[in-house]
């Protein structure tokens, strides 16, 4: 019998073009390369300067998301809402795609959206693929049993030119989430708890595999929320073994295999699991039954507490600096703090089920006076589907804003920002200083917690709305 191997090792082994040695990294083949306007211009410049074409336009999926405004766009003037630099970047991307023969899912396509939302929704994200993008939340696609990770712009150029990357094989970390989740506790709460447990550097150099009963019970969108934030624990990739939930999600999507090819693919995908007895370099077990809604209190995603737990005291100078920035006191729960802005969206929580979760809390209620709430669908498709279900009307009736698809306040480089000192409850993935605007104070939370906070005007426990 051959040595038992992990899911990661199986996918890795299938994509090695040239094995690694002590002197050189492996040449690893990339099956899907998703690109966007912010981290590609300099890579296209390198191709242009060297006279190189894009090797596999058919495996390259370009869209526009990071620096696009979340107001309607039909002219260049509309793009300027996000600023001149952002607008030019969008135009440059359109020109680059045309010059290099790439089909851009841009304005007018009806398919534009956040890189990590459109890959899955098109069915381009599939089990067993290697998927990269010049964005660290590429780990999202690992929810399908793909090996997916973020790369820098130089590497974007490597993939465009050769469809390959130079990579050292990472280590593996098993995260088992055992038991069933209590009512009102969501995937976002699970991943925040995981990061709180392993720390923001606990996964450095590792690929995480999420396992256990609580993970198996999640739908695909919830699994994407989990894998999305692997990078916040330092891991470049997070994976979940594909199963019937995965196959049901993919079947019939436009870029998924069809007919006989579908059957063959599912047969192959069923093999993509960690063998019994396979060894991980590290492992962590989390008891799902003890989890609660989680919120961050500091300036990285590892600084997290349960919604009714006090903010911890003590810590070193970096810890105190973070609390100072956030203007929070040790010993107080986060529910003591008033909210100025609420953001529901991003590649972490900008999918249909996330918007449904927020709308369920908002239905028949009002956003508190003085609170601005933005709900931003992750893609044009998510927007259309939400509208077909009437979610936009619930959101608007509650007094929140229903906007166009894009990264929006997750990154604050497109015109959507919080003002200095404002407290923002956000379903995105990073509460770094200034991430949502200079001096903005970000509290990461689930869509339900975000919506409950909007209604109450302070950080709020969503369980009473469950």
């Amino acid at each position: 019998m051959s040595t038992p191997t992990t899911l990661f090792e199986k996918v890795w082994a299938e994509h090695v073009v040239v094995p690694e040695t002590a002197d050189t990294p492996a040449v690893l083949y990339v099956d899907l390369h998703i690109i966007h306007e912010v981290t590609t211009p300099q890579a296209f410049s390198v191709l242009r300067a060297s006279g190189l074409p894009v090797r596999r336009p058919d495996l390259t999926l370009p869209t526009l998301d990071h620096s696009t405004p979340t107001t309607p766009v039909s002219t260049f003037k509309d793009l300027l809402v996000a600023g001149e630099g952002a607008a030019n970047q969008v135009r440059q991307m359109e020109r680059n795609c045309e010059e290099f023969g790439l089909e851009l899912l841009g304005y007018g396509s009806g398919k534009r959206g956040i890189v990590h939302v459109i890959g899955p929704e098109l069915g381009a994200t599939q089990p067993g693929k290697t998927i990269v993008c010049g964005d660290s939340h590429s780990s999202t696609h690992g929810a399908f049993g793909a090996l997916a990770f973020g790369i820098g712009t130089t590497e974007v150029g490597h993939v465009l030119a050769t469809q390959c990357l130079l990579q050292r094989k990472p280590k593996t970390l098993a995260v088992d989430v055992d038991g069933t989740l209590p009512q009102g506790v969501t995937a976002k709460d699970v991943i925040l708890a995981v990061i709180g447990r392993i720390g923001v550097d606990g996964g450095t150099g590792h690929v995480i595999e999420y396992r256990g009963e609580a993970i198996r019970a999640l739908g695909m969108e919830a699994r994407m929320t989990i894998c999305n934030m692997s990078i916040e624990g330092g891991a470049r990739a997070g994976m979940i073994a594909p199963d019937d939930t995965t196959f049901d999600y993919l079947q019939g999507r436009e870029r998924a295999p069809a007919g006989d090819a579908w059957e063959a693919a599912v047969t192959r995908w069923r093999m993509l699991r960690t063998d019994d007895g396979a060894a991980f370099d590290k492992s962590v077990t989390i008891d799902a039954t003890r989890l609660m809604p989680m919120v961050t209190f500091g300036t990285n995603p590892g600084m997290v507490v349960g919604i009714d737990e006090p903010v911890p005291s003590g810590g070193d100078a970096s810890f105190r600096k973070a609390l100072d920035y956030m203007q929070v006191e040790p010993g107080q729960p986060m529910t003591a703090y008033g909210v100025d802005v609420v953001f529901v969206g991003s590649c972490t929580n900008g999918r249909l089920s996330d918007i449904e979760e927020a709308a369920r809390v908002l239905e028949g209620r009002k956003v508190a006076d003085g609170v601005r709430m933005l709900v931003v669908p992750g893609s044009e498709r998510v927007k259309a589907e939400a509208e077909a279900r009437g979610l936009d009307r619930i959101i608007l009736a509650a007094g929140a804003e229903w906007r166009e698809a894009g990264c929006s306040m997750c990154i604050g480089m497109n015109g959507d920002i919080a003002q200095p000192g404002q407290l923002s409850v956000s379903t995105s993935n990073r509460n770094f200083e200034g991430r949502q605007g200079i001096g903005a104070r970000t509290v990461l939370a689930s869509p339900a917690t975000a919506a409950a906070s909007a209604v109450e005007g302070r950080v709020a426990d969503p369980r009473k709305y469950a």
Binding site: T24, V27, Y29, L32, T39, S67, T153, H158, N300
Partner: protein, 194 residues
């Protein structure tokens, strides 16, 4: 890329843990289509107050930081976003090396590909460097050692390929392109197509 063999400089120390790439270069400066000119906005919100006045208490604004090209930072430097603008900004600012006890994966990859030497040292050396800002160091990239002022040489780990590329000034795209036959063979013989 220019070859990087040795770096001799005084250090500047930023002891904060978990300095993320949003701190190094904020997202609002990413709306550029060039690699150049990011240095003036490196650590922007730490360097300047909201009126754009330099913060006198920030270490890079002190006179002794002038000309220092070695940054010693708290644990887990460069976490967060994959933006290569972070090493571009540090290089453009004038840094040639960054030393910590842990450097986030994507940042380290990006840094080394651009000739910014990202070095992980042991906790004791790190603690000493944090406690002694402004000491003169010589980093020998080929020998993978840091020479301390007392002449002692501290070894550090550096991937052999990354080291080779730094020392030779090698462009990794050229290396990948040499494998084009292997890539074609892989595409033609793999059991399934994406």
């Amino acid at each position: 890329m220019k070859p990087v063999r040795t770096i001799t400089s005084k250090t500047v120390v930023l002891p904060t843990r978990d300095i993320d790439t949003d701190q190094i270069i904020a997202a609002r400066f990413l709306t550029t289509t060039s690699r150049e000119g990011l240095g003036k906005n490196a650590f922007h919100d730490l360097r300047y107050d909201k009126d754009g006045t330099p913060r006198a208490d920030f270490v890079l604004n002190r006179p002794e930081a002038d000309g220092c090209s070695i940054l010693v930072a708290g644990n887990n430097f460069g976490c967060g976003s994959s933006r290569e603008h972070a090493p571009w900004a540090l290089l453009d600012y004038g840094f040639e090396a960054v030393i910590s006890t842990e450097i986030a994966d994507i940042f380290r990859n990006n840094a080394l590909k651009n000739g910014l030497v990202a070095i992980v040292v042991d906790a004791a050396t790190h603690a000493w460097l944090l406690d002694n800002p402004g000491v003169a160091l010589t980093i020998d990239v080929e020998g993978t050692t840091i020479k301390l002022p007392d002449g002692r040489k501290v070894p550090f780990a550096l991937d052999r390929f990354a080291r080779y590329c730094l020392v030779e000034g090698l462009d990794q795209l050229g290396f990948l392109q040499k494998h084009v036959d292997d890539i074609v063979r892989y595409e033609e013989t793999r059991p399934w197509t994406p």
